[in-house]
């Protein structure tokens, strides 16, 4: 092009460079190739037949069916029921409908019930794993054990890749560190529960005066926001530990903080203690117990969910009809409407993949563990 303009310097060039660099019109028969290193007799804007040939849409997107999604939503119901139960109990304490002593008794009963459930479901799951081991090879046994430990051995696919990798890693650790018997873990649980109860008892006089110079409205509003944050951040399908992930730790922190705020308005140390103990039992120990039950059997999981929802509704019904109906509507929405919604909007999902995607290096588990240690 520059040659051309030097040839005809005096002539007014109107459209100097529109004249193509190379003769483009002849020899169009040469098939176009997707290469950059060879200059081809085609325009730079040429769009070949093979354009977007390697585009893949929705390759790894799982098909969702309504029943499965409803079933998965039950854990959300459980958590909502938990939060409602703690809130309802606090309100009952606050209005004087329930005496602190009664609630402490209820705490103790709940603890007992939870322990029994834990033991029963552990024994049940252990028996299931043992029978599976008897039937299948050793490798399958480990897998079954793993499946029994985690209700969600195949994690939801829409989660991010690195999270999945992380989870696999966690499961690996868990497999290495699974205690041989549930008795040891039960003893361990009893010990830590006792420590928890003691620490709460010692702290409750202090916590009772925490928000003395803040108004009730502010405290309750803060607590409500914290509990909503808890419901949003909670890890509903945790595998190894409830606080293995940052968001789940935050969720637990939110829940405990919300409970402390509510408890601080209750006045007497006994009431504070009873309320805090209840919330700690339900927020910290509850998820493990429920996971164990869910792993043991589907029927038990459904029954436990129904029981929790019913208990929370009964607690609430004695105090406010409006709150009870709001609670029931929320549960209906979460259990039936949201899954329907999810399944319906799923057809609009377009996960686009192609050669431009960032490759995920397929390192073997051993190598990636070795690398991640550094």
């Amino acid at each position: 092009m520059r040659q051309r303009s030097s040839d005809t310097d005096d002539e007014p060039p109107m459209q100097p460079a529109v004249a193509p660099l190379a003769p483009l019109s002849p020899a169009k028969r040469v098939p176009w190739r997707k290469v950059l290193w060879a200059r081809q007799p085609y325009d730079d804007t040429h769009t070949a037949e093979s354009f977007l040939e390697e585009l893949v849409v929705n390759a790894t997107v799982p098909q969702r069916d309504y029943a499965t999604v409803v079933w998965s939503a039950l854990v959300v119901d459980q958590q909502v029921a938990t939060v409602t139960a703690v809130g309802g109990a606090s309100h009952a304490l606050y209005t004087g409908r329930v005496m602190p002593r009664q609630l402490l008794l209820a705490d103790a009963l709940l603890m007992l019930l939870g322990s029994l459930l834990w033991l029963a479901s552990s024994a049940w799951a252990g028996a299931k794993a043992a029978s599976a081991a008897g039937a299948a090879a050793a490798g399958a046994a480990t897998a079954a054990e793993l499946a029994a430990l985690s209700p969600d051995a195949s994690p939801p696919k829409h989660r991010h890749q690195h999270r999945r990798r992380h989870r696999r890693h966690v499961q690996q650790q868990q497999r290495d560190a699974t205690p041989p018997s549930w008795r040891a873990s039960a003893l361990d649980g009893v010990g830590s529960m006792a420590a928890l109860a003691l620490a709460t008892a010692l702290l409750s006089p202090l916590l009772g005066t925490l928000t003395e110079n803040v108004s009730s409205d502010t405290t309750i509003a803060c607590a409500c926001l914290l509990l909503l944050a808890h419901l949003y951040l909670h890890d509903y399908h945790f595998t190894a530990a409830l606080t293995a992930q940052l968001s789940a730790s935050l969720a637990l922190g939110c829940a405990v903080c919300g409970s402390v705020l509510v408890a601080s308005r209750l006045g007497s140390p006994a009431a504070v203690y009873a309320q805090l103990l209840l919330s700690l039992e339900l927020y910290i120990v509850g998820p493990y117990c429920r996971r164990q039950v869910a792993a043991a059997s589907h029927a038990a999981h459904a029954a436990l969910t129904a029981g929790m929802i019913g208990a929370a509704a009964a607690l609430l019904a004695r105090q406010s009809a409006l709150a009870t109906s709001a609670y029931c509507c929320a549960l209906l929405f979460i259990t039936f409407i949201c899954p329907m919604w999810l399944v319906r909007i799923h057809k609009f999902k377009a996960a686009i993949n192609g050669p431009w995607d960032e490759a995920v290096p397929r390192l073997s588990a051993a190598v990636s563990r070795q690398l991640s240690q550094r």
Binding site: M1, S5, A17, D44, L52, P355, L363
Partner: protein, 502 residues
């Protein structure tokens, strides 16, 4: 505003990325500008201030660069302000009497804002996208929305590879016929092989002219060596590097294809996750075990360097793997020519300039099959591998076998690469895009009135479209306001330097 002489353009290149920062985009803008200057156009570059480098600078051949005072927030991308830079940009456009704006890189906020404002002022705009993006994560979705808004109203889009074109078309929802593919290039003369041309190669390519060219290159190369030595002598730090580079170079030329000492594999990139350093760390021990005579030379620096160091330490590879740290661009060649095989483990690349540089230096290239990499070099120079340790180990094995078999002529390869990629050709192709946009015919087939623009913006989406329209309308009002407060007639035009000849 007085128009440039016929056949000449006044161009403004806008990007957040420019020298002293280094990378593919920076090199592209600089080289393209130099070639366009050589072709007789006026080129001005607009970027943000880098440290105390603020204000107007003149680079080689009168390339004027505006380093405007704007705050970079992350990875030298400026804080998005939407209308904040308009006043200054308008002054520059009017002062320099710009006739076409060329914006670079999809995550440069300056480029996006400049496109919007230039379109408001009625200038034709060309946009070059240099990278690949996914569709799934939040940052990609955000960038893709902004890109959709920007590309809705530009006149032409340029991508650096065919894969990049597919990607950009999908992300911005634009017709593929509006997108040109113009690759990057390398300045091949900076990446000449070290070994002198062997006699057989000369016999293969007869002709006095070629021999003369080779002689010239040889002389050039000797001169380069001498200059490197004097440079190395001038500062103490560079002294060992220069001498080691020379030592390595001579050893590699003596052992070319021979059995005496081993083959050297060179890897050179920033040591970050996206460049596949985890893969490299995973395969290093296995490669060293399988090929006991192979040496590794790894250049570059970054957050993954401790990982590589730990792998080297743990497997006792200190004698075989050399981590040389960051390599300034002018020393890249001296690093490359010490090796026989170039290894690239990147996880994503739109167009990998490093591959072309290595090929120009006569190395056999092994790379992961990602993005636009398969398009960059022909099969005889490039071995592709799946992005997994097994795939890479196998491909490196093949490459080593090829090198050991001999018969590869680095100078022939250099000549071939020189033929494939040159900035002059790239600039000429880019210039054709400019003329297709500026030419008399271009205006006829496009409605550049405000109504036409809004019509294009509203097509961006049910909700997003009207938002785009609002932004464009507000920008137009702001422009009218600026015209009222600070009329264009009051802005002194800058003389063209070097002067544009007709």
């Amino acid at each position: 505003m007085d128009p440039p002489p016929p056949g000449r353009l006044r161009l403004l290149m806008v990007s957040d990325f420019f020298y002293p920062n280094t990378g593919g985009v920076e090199a592209h803008i600089y080289q393209l500008s130099q070639c366009l200057l050589a072709a007789g156009h006026k080129v001005v570059v607009l970027t943000h201030a880098y440290g105390d480098r603020c204000g107007v600078r003149h680079l080689t051949n009168g390339l004027k660069v505006y380093y405007v005072p704007r705050l970079p927030i992350t990875q030298s991308v400026t804080l998005p302000t939407l209308f904040g830079g308009f006043r200054l940009l308008r002054h520059i456009l009017i002062r320099e009497r710009i006739t076409l704006l060329h914006a670079h890189q999809a995550f440069s906020t300056m480029a996006h804002e400049a496109v919007l404002h230039a379109r408001t002022m009625g200038l034709p705009v060309v946009f070059t996208d240099h990278s690949l993006f996914g569709f799934a994560d939040a940052s990609s979705i955000l960038v893709n929305k902004v890109l959709k808004f920007t590309l809705a109203d530009v006149h032409a889009v340029i991508c650096v590879s065919h894969t990049s074109k597919e990607n950009t078309v999908l992300r911005a929802c634009i017709p593929p016929t509006r997108v040109s593919v113009i690759p990057n290039a390398v300045d091949a003369s900076l990446f000449e092989p070290d070994a002198p041309p062997v006699p057989q190669a000369a016999a293969l390519h007869p002709g006095k002219q070629q021999q003369a060219a080779k002689r010239r290159r040889q002389q050039q190369q000797q001169w380069l060596r001498r200059r490197r030595k004097t440079q190395a002598g001038s500062d103490g730090n560079g002294a060992d590097e220069g001498s080691s580079a020379d030592g390595g170079g001579s050893s590699s030329s003596s052992s070319d294809g021979g059995d005496g000492s081993g083959i050297t594999i060179v890897a050179l990139s920033r040591l970050v996750y996206r460049k596949g350093i985890d893969l490299l760390a995973a395969i290093l021990p296995e490669l060293c075990a399988r090929h006991p005579r192979v040496q590794f030379l790894i250049g570059g620096d970054g957050p993954k360097r401790p990982l590589l160091e730990a792998v080297v330490r743990e497997h006792g590879l200190q004698g075989r793997v050399q981590l040389v740290g960051a390599v300034p661009h002018e020393q890249v060649r001296s690093l490359l020519v010490q090796g026989h095989v170039f290894l690239n483990c990147s996880l994503t690349e739109a167009f990998c300039m490093a591959l072309v540089e290595a090929a120009a230096a006569g190395l056999l290239v092994v790379s992961t099959r990602v993005g636009g990499v398969p398009e960059v070099l022909p099969d005889e120079m490039l071995l592709l591998a799946e992005p997994s340790p097994d795939g890479l180990v196998a491909a490196v094995g093949q490459a080593l076998a090829r090198v050991a078999a001999g018969g590869r002529d680095p100078w022939a390869q250099h000549a071939a690469v020189r033929e494939m990629y040159s900035w002059q050709a790239i600039a000429a192709r880019t210039e054709r895009v400019y003329w297709s946009v500026v030419g008399a015919g271009a205006a006829a087939c496009r409605d550049d009135s405000m109504a036409g623009r809004l019509e294009r913006y509203v097509k961006c989406g049910k909700w997003f479209g009207p938002i785009c329209c609002c932004v464009a309308a507000v920008d137009w009002l702001y422009w009218r306001f600026l015209e009222w407060v600070d009329p264009a007639a009051g802005i002194e035009p800058a003389p063209d330097f070097p002067p544009l000849s007709g």
